[in-house]
Structures are given as C-alpha cells and as structure tokens.
C-alpha cells in the first residue's frame, strides 16, 4: 500500500477508504498497513504526553481500540481516519491521566501523603545534564543583548509575537528576522559549547581510565 506523504488529497482519501475496508473485513494486510502508517506517530505522541513508561502497551491498546471501532462501524467517514486515530490517542492520554490520579488517591498513605517514585539519575547523568545546561547558558550570554532579550521573551516568558513587538518596538518583519537570527546564532554557539563540553568529559574519563 502506498505511503501517505506524497499523495494528493483524492489519492489519500481513497487510500484511507481502502485501508478501513480491509480492517473492517478482517484482512490482515489492512492491520499491517494501519500499524505501518501510524505506529511511529502514535508512539511519538504518547511518549511525548505521558513519558516512556509502558509505552508498548499503550500503543498496542490504541491500535486495538481503533481496529475494534472500525469493525463496529464507528468510523462513519473512512477518509477521516487520521482524525479518528488522533481522537483515540488523545482519549488514551486523558484516560491515563484520570487513572493515574485515581490510583494515587486510592493508594494514599495518610502519613506520607504522596506516592513518590524513586528514580534517581546516576551521578554521570546528573553531571551531563548540568554541563549541558552550563554550556547552553554560556552560549546565551555570547549573543547580543537584543538577541538574548528576544529569545528570553519568546521562550522563557512565552510572550506572543505581538507582545514582543509592542515591548521592543519592532515590526513583525523585524521580529521574525531577529528571532530567526538569534535562534541560529544561539544554536551554533550552543552546539560548539556542547561539543567542547563532551570532549572535556571524554578527556577526563580517558585520563581516569589510564590512571587505573
């Protein structure tokens, strides 16, 4: 079955209809195609929303729900398969959150109050995270004050374009240009500093290993 990305709207619509019909009649080729098209995206979405825990199970449950719904005739517009899968995935996320809240309520310990997962990073991971943050911070201080202000307003304070333009007296075009430049400059510097930081780590480890 052809992939979806290079198809025009009429082709894609026919593609989804064919796929849905295959699933509806229980054709294994349909199930395979559904998984091939959506597995990565569903996994990505669920992981991004809920984290990596029990991801395989969640992905599997999602596909099960989609297939069962199609077989029950709940997908009335086969050409809307993408939207349908999206709805199912979002409901999975909401259901998982509800369940997590409920199970925490049920398991609450009067003394401790909170269920805490003990998952400390190992010291090396902590160091890597710290060094990365420091490298990125140094990169931020290497760009101009105006570039730094734009990035800080947009990403940290999460101001909108309109608000930033108003506060910094910029036109929309100026804002886009400056932000794009600031981001590119920051990205270059950040990468250089991260590479330097990774090299330093490597040298330190190599020295420690040879001392042993």
């Amino acid at each position: 079955m052809p992939t979806t990305e290079n198809q025009g709207p009429a082709d894609q619509s026919a593609h989804w209809e064919q796929l849905v019909e295959q699933i509806r009649v229980g054709d294994p080729a349909g199930m395979e195609a559904l998984y091939r098209v959506f597995a990565r995206g569903v996994r990505f979405y669920l992981c991004r929303q809920l984290g990596p825990q029990e991801l395989d199970d969640k992905v599997h449950d999602t596909f099960l729900i989609v297939v069962q719904a199609i077989r029950r005739g709940e997908l009335r517009e086969p050409e809307r398969l993408m939207g349908f899968v999206r709805t199912v995935v979002r409901r999975q996320v909401a259901a998982h959150i509800d369940q997590a809240v409920q199970s925490r309520r049920d398991r609450v310990d009067v003394e401790s109050g909170i269920h805490i997962v003990d998952s400390r990073s190992n010291p090396e991971e902590v160091l890597v995270v710290k060094q990365r943050a420091e490298a990125v911070e140094r990169a931020l201080h290497c760009i101009s004050g105006r570039d730094r202000e734009i990035l800080t307003r947009f990403y940290l304070l999460e101001q909108t374009q309109e608000e930033i333009c108003h506060d910094m007296s910029l036109s929309e075009t100026q804002f886009r240009l400056l932000k794009s430049r600031a981001k590119a400059r920051f990205g270059e510097l950040g990468k250089k500093k991260l590479v330097r930081s990774a090299l330093t780590q490597f040298i330190v480890r190599a020295k420690a290993a040879s001392a042993d």
């Binding site: 990505f44 993408m82 998952s119 940290l156 999460e158 108003h166």
Partner: protein
Amino acid sequence: MSKLAQTHPSEEVLEEYALGRLTGPKLEQFEEHLLVCAQCQDGLEETDRFIVGIKQAAGTAPRPERKRFGRFKLLSKPVWAGALAAAALAVVVWMPRQPAAGYDAEVSLQAMRGAEAVAPAVPAGKPFLLKADVKGLPPASEFRLEVADSGGAVVWRATVSPKDALISTVVARKLGAGRYWVRLYDPAGALVREYGLESR
C-alpha cells in the same frame, strides 16, 4: 483533507505547538499530520530540545521588563484552598502580588494532608508565578513541569531546577478559563506529583 495535514508545517507552527499555543482547527490539522510524518516528529523533537535548552539557560538570565502589566483584583489576604488531582494531598496557596516583570499572580503548590477537594484558581488569561515544594522527593538537578488541560493536552511545559527544595517558574501561557492539571516529572520522566488547578 486539510492543506496543513498534507504539507509539512513551518518551523513556526512546530514552535507554536511545542509551546502549547496551537489551538482549534490548526491544532487538529497539525496533530493529524504529526501522526503520519516522521520528518515532522523529528523536527518537533529537535524543537522541544531547543526550547528546553534555552529555558534552562534563560532561566538564570535577568528578565526584561514588560511595558504592559495585567490588572486584576488583589485580595487583601492570601487564599487557602484544597486542590483536585492529588486532591486531599495538595494545596495551592495563592498569594496576590503587585504586578512584577513577567507575571501578575503567584501560586504555591504544597503537599498537605486532608485538604478539601476544591480547585485553587488563578486568573484566566494572565501569566503567573508557579512555585512547587519538592521536599520529600529524591534529589534531582531538574524537574519537568507540565500544565495540561482537562482533555489531557499539554498546554505548557518547562524544565526547572530546584533551589532549596523549591522550584519556581513563570507560566506565561495565558490559560483560558477551565480546569487544568499541573504535573511534575523527575529526570527519568516519571510522574511524581500532580495538582489540580482552575483558571477563571
């Protein structure tokens, strides 16, 4: 099929989504496209990493002043209320403040026992300073904070480093009226605390 669902969205749209600002039909179209497009998934992952990186860096930088300050009614005394979610476990203390750079209200999330299940509220459409007590949690160099709406969609996220067992960050995202969840994740990605929040 929508045009956005067919074509790759721009970097701006990826950013809007990563910052939780994409809404309505654009959000639907983008997410549908994301489900089937590996290139955009990779692009979004890179955007997420960039935003986390810059938030970590910019978090320690001095904040620029805002020319406009939101106005809202200040209460004469702090409001104590119980929270949903970790319901009997979390309390939000809303301490009204004078408007300062970047936010108009302050909310502290604390774990307490036996609180009433009433959702604490923040002013809708206004940025607020969110503080969370991480005492009792395993020590970590950073935590991930998320605000999700009642449908489970993440509308805002940040990575914050604790100081003296307290994390503090400005939620500049203007929340619409409604119920939200504030979720706290440890560095391994495990959900360690969750609080209810109402925006009105």
